[in-house]
Every structure is written in C-alpha cells, then in structure tokens.
C-alpha cells in the first residue's frame, strides 16, 4: 500500500514539475478564447455546418451527431442501448438488434466510431462503432443515420481496440481488451498466465452493402489489447494493436500490470493471414454469437445466432505477426497519414515511442529479434524505433495527425494537447484543455487525407466550465482551429454520455444523399398498408393484430371494439405520409413499452396487454400538424368472458368497404 501512495505522490510531484517548466500556462481557464473565435464558430440561422462529427456516447451506448464548427447537436443515433425517443429496442422490429448470446442486452458501452474509406479517404457511406462490455461492432448507415447491423464478437471481453477500418474498407477489427479463456470455460483465475488468450477479430465488409462477417479470429497471447490502427499507404495490409499487461497479472492490475518497462505493439500482417485463410487455413471452432441485421425493405431486424468462427493460431502463419517493444503500457496506437510512423502512447511513460514501418520491414528481413513471446518474434527496440518524444507532457493517450507532418497528442494527467513535428520529434505548441482529455479527433483522422482545419478534444471532466447540474455535470468537447502554427481554442460544447472518441467528415460527403422518406410502395413489412382501405383488425386466439395507418391528422381505424382483458394487442402502424420531415408517433395508455416514432412510409409495431376493462385512448405523440391534438382514437376493452366480436371503424364506416362496392 505504501508503495502505491509513494508512486502517486511522485506522480504529483512530476506533474507539478512539468507544469512549472513549459507545461500548460495556468493563468485563467476562461480567457483562453481569443478575440475572433466566436466569428469562426458562428453558423448563422439557416446556414449549415461544414463538417459532421460523430461522437460516441460512451456509457450511453449511443452515437451523437454534431455539426462543426457550431457544436450543435443534431441527433443521437441509438446503437447499443434502448432509446424510447425513437422506439429503438422497444418496437418489435428493432428488438432483435439488441439480441446477443447473453440474451436481450438493452445497454452497451460504445467507444470508437470510424467512417468507411475508399482509397484511403473517408467516403461517408457507413460509420462503424464498437461496444466494449458485450463485445459487439455496429454498422450505421449514413443515408438513414440508423443502425443497420450489429455483430457480436465471440471469445472476447471488453472489445476496446476496435472498430477501426482499413483504407478500402476491407476489414473492421475487434480486439479483446481483457484476456479470457478461449473458448470460455470454468477454471481457476489464478491459473490465468499462459492459459488465457486474446482474440483479435477481422470482420470483412461487403463493398456494396457493408454487411460484416467475422472472416477470421487470431488467437493471441493473453495480454490486454487496448487500441489499434490500420496501416495505410506503404503499410496498408498491416494492423497495429497496442497491448498492456504483458505481465499477465490478474489482480490489483494498476500495480501488477504496470511492472514491465516495455509492453508491445502487435503488428499483424492481415493480408498474409487473409491469404492463409483463403487457401483453407485456420480451424473452425464452435462459438456462439449474434448477428443482427436491419432491413429497410421490411423495416424489420433479423437476429441470427452463429455457431462457429474460423480461428488462426499465430504459429501457423510464420512471418505474419511481430511484437514491437513500446514504452510502458501504451494506450493509443496511431499511424500517421503516410503509413510510415506508428506511435505508441505510453500512458505511464515519460517518453512517447515512434516506430518506423520502413525500419520494421528491414528488421524483419534482418531477423533483428530480441527473443519471442509465445512463439511470436519480438523485434529489437532499436531496430524498429524511429525515435522518442521526450518529456512531452504527462500521460499521453492518443495522437491524430494533420497533412503537414504534425502529430497532436492528448495528455490525460497534464490536461493538454501537444502539437509536435513527427520528423524532428520537437514540440511545436501546447494548449491546456478543460479537463482530463481522452481522445481527440481531426476529421478524416484515421485516413491518408485528414481534413486538418479543426481538431476536437474530448474531455472527461468539466467541473467549473458550465452551469452546475447537481453532482453529475456534462462531459465536453473542445474545438480547436489547427490551420495555423499555434492551436487556437474556439469553442466548448457539452456532449452526451462520455464523449469517448469521434469521427469527422466534410458535410458534402454525406448531406446530399441523406434519405428523406421511405417509399410506401417499397414497404415489404408483413403488416404494412399502403392506404386506409387496407387497414383492419384481426383476432388470432388471444392475439389481436391491428393493421393501422396514420396520416395528417388521423389514424385508421380509430374506434376498435372486441378487445378483451388478457389479450395481447399488436399495433402494426404504417405512416402513409410521403413528405420529408413528417413522422407521426403513437402510444397507448398502459402500454409497457415506448411510443413509436414512425417515419413517412415506414411500419412499426408495439404491443399492449390491457389489464383493465374500459375505453382507452391512444394518440399521436409527435406534434405533426395543426390537428395533432385531434389525432387520437379509442379501444374498448371488455372482460375476458365477453363475447363481443372484433369491430373497427373510421368515421362510422369500416375502412375499405366503400371502395369494394
């Protein structure tokens, strides 16, 4: 215990020391914005932002969409958590999206969004995001801004080094943060060392539709795989994963996993492994994991349990995997736009490690190895290391890049962003952030072509930055202009959940193809209607299925009788509108679910189990028109023993009967 206290004490001293000599200046945290910053972030009413920022919601499980430079919040896309606002995870159609091998999991811990790429540039087709707690990767359509696919990752725990995409969207990766038995089994935790494994999964992406599939899983030594980035340009074909706990400790990790002076970056030649797999390599192993897909045709998700996964042992593909020693417990693992430099942010080290891809190639050729770990060659530090950035700050976490050869690194402990030149490893500028910054983002960050005008720092603590809201205050993002030599702070804006990481892209790559409505005549939902004449109510045993329509400003039918206590009533509701921005909602008194918010042309379903007799109203939950308040209806609920037959009307007539005459 004493040693821990001592080390914390010395860390504090170190922080104080660093601050006093060239650390962030501690004048006022309020006067940090220069004169014309407001002008630079002002987007006049009716005008549009130049960039989209997709900011992860961290423990909210969602993905928030902001505009840059204004910092305005446009939408929260539900991904891994239920969202009553959009009925995601509540409607019968979206419930399958949250199915896993552990059953229905209504919450997730979303981390790293990454945008699909074509030829090394972000293309604005899809954004991928990982879930840490129940290992999953989701794909979100940037036409509809809705989650279209979620795939669970087997043999993993804490899917953290994820979901980064290769430069032609060949693969999105998942890596286990926690080493676990592979496959899971009942065993003593103290026997962990040498018996646990770390799964690195490569999910192929269908180039036309984006559908994911676990192509192969590498069974790595039982270290913790923290973060990752793909190679690009000359290093395309490789993937780099930072590791910690190469000690393979299993208790009091803050101490026991921080003993080695160097941990590793695992360099994976995925092209080589892909080739091995395509030639029949690897072994199919039983594995239970969910694969959920959404269809915009049926407006329904499908949940399928997969039964096996293809596993590759590193020893079977010699020359495909190497370890690069990297200063202490690296967190971020970042590759610069040229693909030459691989930066390991040793969060506990004083120096940042910069590796060279060219040197790595040569070292492999020369067999400049320093032994091996579980059969995987460890490249000699000097043979791969390009250099180190000495004493840049305290607690380096993540680095992003501009196109002018600079890196921007966040320092958690010293709460700052440091700009440095990669070639000569010299610090150019440093700027305090408020406070405790995690990731930072430059639009197009994980690509060959960063759009280096803006940088966003994502902070964990805000304390005095905003009006207080009780013990829980917001977390925040801070926008910087990085077009000049010095970084300029422009704006703070609050974020939902924990803004873990973000992905940014120029608005023009997404906005023009944003979907406006779903076409009714393309709606293949089983219970869809294309006009009011097709609406009806049908009893099947104790199930009552209502095929209902909604249009400004009424439901059809709007009077229903013959429902009984103990029935299960399905509201299958179609929005007949075909006009942009005219959704309707529906909810029913006593329904143990959320409302439905239904876009034009879409069908959605909720269930209602009436427990009391009476005449119960339902209504539109979205202020849709001048007569929104009148958009309502009634259902009569009779006792279980009643023999009242199902009947339904709109304005006194059965919908559709006139037309048949």
């Amino acid at each position: 215990m004493k040693t821990i206290l001592k080390s914390i004490f010395s860390l504090t001293i170190a922080a104080a020391f660093l601050v006093s000599c060239g650390g962030p200046s501690k004048k006022s945290n309020k006067g940090a914005v220069s004169g014309n910053a407001a002008e630079k972030v002002y987007v006049a009413p009716g005008e549009h932002d130049s960039h989209y920022a997709f900011v992860s919601g961290g423990f909210s499980g969602q993905l928030a969409v902001y505009g840059l430079p204004s910092g305005r919040l446009f939408r929260v896309i539900p991904v891994f958590s239920q969202d009553p606002e959009k009925a995601y995870g509540y409607s019968e159609e979206t419930k399958p999206m949250l199915q896993t091998s552990h059953g229905f999991v209504p919450w997730g811990d979303s981390h790293h969004p990454d945008i699909s790429q074509t030829n090394g540039s972000v293309d604005g087709r899809w954004v991928f995001i990982n879930e840490n707690n129940t290992p999953r990767i989701a794909r979100i359509s940037l036409e509809t801004f809705e989650t279209e696919e979620i795939i669970e990752i087997p043999n993993s725990a804490g899917n953290h080094s994820s979901s980064f995409v290769t430069e032609n969207s060949e693969y999105v990766v998942a890596g286990t943060r926690f080493a676990v038995p592979f496959p899971q089994r009942d065993m003593s935790i103290s026997d962990m060392k040498g018996n646990f494994s770390g799964a690195l999964s490569f999910l192929s992406i269908d180039p036309d539709h984006g559908n994911m599939e676990i192509k192969f899983q590498i069974k790595m030594p039982g270290f913790n795989y923290d973060l990752s980035h793909p190679g690009r340009g000359k290093s395309h074909g490789w993937f780099f994963f930072s590791t910690y706990n190469t000690e393979e400790a299993n208790t009091l990790m803050e101490v026991n996993a921080s003993q080695n002076d160097k941990d590793f970056i695992a360099a994976i030649n995925w092209k080589k492994i892909e080739e091995y797999v395509n030639n029949g390599g690897g072994k199919k192993m039983p594995a239970k994991y969910a694969h959920n897909t959404w269809s915009d045709e049926t407006h329904t998700a499908t949940h399928v349990m997969q039964k096996e996964v293809l596993v590759v042992e590193p020893k079977d593909v010699p020359g495909a995997i190497y370890f690069l020693p990297t200063a202490k417990s690296p967190h971020g693992c970042d590759v610069d736009p040229t693909g030459e430099y691989i930066i390991g942010n040793g969060k506990l080290a004083a120096a940042m490690t910069v590796h060279s891809f060219t040197k790595m190639q040569k070292a492999i050729e020369d067999k400049a190895f320093d032994g091996e770990a579980y059969g995987i060659p460890i490249i000699k530090f000097d043979a791969v290391n390009y250099g180190t950035l000495d004493q840049p700050g305290l607690g380096p976490l993540h680095t992003e890049f501009d196109t002018r050869g600079n890196g921007y690194t966040t320092f958690f402990i010293s709460s700052e962003v440091v700009k440095w030149n990669i070639k000569d490893l010299k610090v150019i500028d440093r700027h305090p952030v408020y406070y405790s910054v995690g990731h930072l983002m430059i639009p197009g960050g994980n690509s060959r072509t960063p759009d280096d005008k803006y940088m966003v720092a994502m902070n964990k603590i805000t304390k005095d930055r905003y009006l207080p809201t009780g013990p829980e205050v917001c977390q925040s993002a801070q926008l910087f202009d990085i077009s000049g030599e010095k970084m300029e702070l422009l704006l703070d804006f609050p974020t939902i959940g924990e803004p873990h990481y973000a992905a940014g892209i120029a608005a023009e790559k997404i906005a023009p193809k944003s979907k406006k409505i779903y076409k009714l005549n393309e709606n293949k939902h089983h219970y869809a209607v294309t006009n009011e004449g097709e609406t009806n109510v049908v009893r099947k045993g104790n199930e009552v299925h209502i095929k209902m329509s909604m249009i400004r400003s009424h439901f059809s039918p709007d009077n229903i009788e013959g429902v009984k206590v103990g029935d299960k009533v399905f509201f299958h509701v179609t929005n007949l509108e075909q006009d942009y921005d005219v959704p309707h909602g529906i909810s029913m008194i006593g329904a143990n679910t959320s409302e439905l918010l239904i876009m034009p042309g879409r069908t959605a379903t909720f269930t209602w189990e009436p427990k009391q007799v009476g005449v119960w109203p339902f209504y539109c939950t979205d202020f849709c028109s001048a007569l929104h308040q009148e958009m309502q209806g009634y259902i009569r609920v009779s006792p279980k023993s009643s023999d009242i037959k199902i009947s339904y009307t709109l304005d006194g007539d059965v919908p559709g009967e006139d037309e048949e005459e």
């Binding site: 249009i551 075909q578 006009d579 001048a626 007569l627």
Partner: protein, 195 residues
C-alpha cells in the same frame, strides 16, 4: 418550296411538342415547404414536380375541404386529339393549301386555345370553390362570403399561407412559337403571292 409554306409546316409541327413537354405548372410556396410543392400539367396528365407533390398538395388542401386532384380528367382524352388534328391539319395546309388558309388555321387554333384556357379556368374555379361543407377550417372573405382557394389562371397570388404561381411551361412555349410562325407564314405567303 416557298418559305411561307415551310414556316407554316414547321409552326404547326411544333404543336407536337405538347406531347412531350408539360403545358403548365402550378407551384405552391409556404414557409414550411423550402422546396415548394408543384404540379406540372401535360395535355395527357398531371404530374408531380417532385415525387409525391400532388399527394402532399391534397393533404394540405384537405384542411380547407378542397377536393383531391383527380388522377385523370376528360380533357386528357380530348386535348391530345385536338392538338394532333390541328398539327397535322396545319402541316397539310402548309403543304397544299392557299396561304389564306394559314390565317384560318391560326384563328381556329387561337379560338381553341382560348377555349382551353377557359376550360382550365372553370376547372380551377371548381377546384378552389367546391369545398367540403364539413371542412376542418372555414375562412371567410372580409365581405362575409366563403373564401375560395382558386389558384391564379396566370401569375402569382397569395392563398392563406401559400403563394401560388401559375405559369406556362416548355410545351406551351412550343405552341406559342409555333402559332406565331404560322401567323408570320400568312403575311409571308401574302407577300409571295403579290410578287
């Protein structure tokens, strides 16, 4: 061939443009429609300016009890016949007949055109005044009479929260230019005859 005959033939041929291009357009602007709703009128059909515009015009109009814009009207059968006959008649006259017939054709075509516009006016009047007595909203003019929602025959007019525009489109310009050419053909023919 004489210039006048050529002009007469080409002029009446241009009427056939009405089979390809829309004759007229009605556009409705409102604050909540940054992309205005519009309807193109052909001699054979009504068509959305943007997909689903007519459906959305109907939806807006039901508040004041206006009828739905019909899928088809009897004029869509008559207009193509009239235009087809007049075009071929004009070309035949241009090819064969005395230049005096050119003026005859022009006068007939003008009468038909005016009749068409009158028909259009009647349709608009009915559309804008024949309101459902159970309409959700009833509006009265300052003089106490029931407000009508008739779009303008030609030009721009404010109707409640909408600004309605009614203007000819490409097909109509083909017709106007064609008719003007036949009119010139008559004078040219007269000049050629006197020489």
């Amino acid at each position: 061939m004489k210039k006048s005959r050529l002009l007469m033939m080409v002029g009446s041929f241009l009427l056939l443009g009405l089979f390809i291009f829309p004759l007229w357009n009605i556009t409705l602007e409102a604050p909540q429609y940054p992309i205005p709703l519009g309807m193109d009128i052909y001699i054979t059909k009504f068509q959305d300016t943007h997909e689903f515009d007519i459906k959305n015009i109907n939806l807006m109009n039901h508040y004041v009890g206006m009828q739905y814009i019909p899928d088809t009207i009897p004029e869509f059968k008559i207009f193509p016949i009239v235009i087809g006959v007049m075009a071929f008649l004009g070309m035949f006259i241009g090819f064969k007949a005395n230049y005096k017939w050119f003026l005859g054709w022009f006068v007939l075509m003008s009468i038909l055109g005016i009749a068409g516009m009158y028909d259009f006016y009647l349709w608009e009047y009915d559309y804008g005044h024949n309101l459902d007595p159970k309409a959700i909203m009833n509006f009265k003019n300052p003089d106490g009479s029931v407000m009508g929602f008739q779009p303008p025959l030609f030009g721009t007019k404010d109707i409640l929260n909408f600004t309605a525009h009614s203007y000819p489109l490409v097909g109509a310009y083909f017709m106007f230019v064609g008719m003007f050419m036949t009119f010139i053909a008559f004078f040219l023919g007269k000049k050629e005859a006197s020489n």
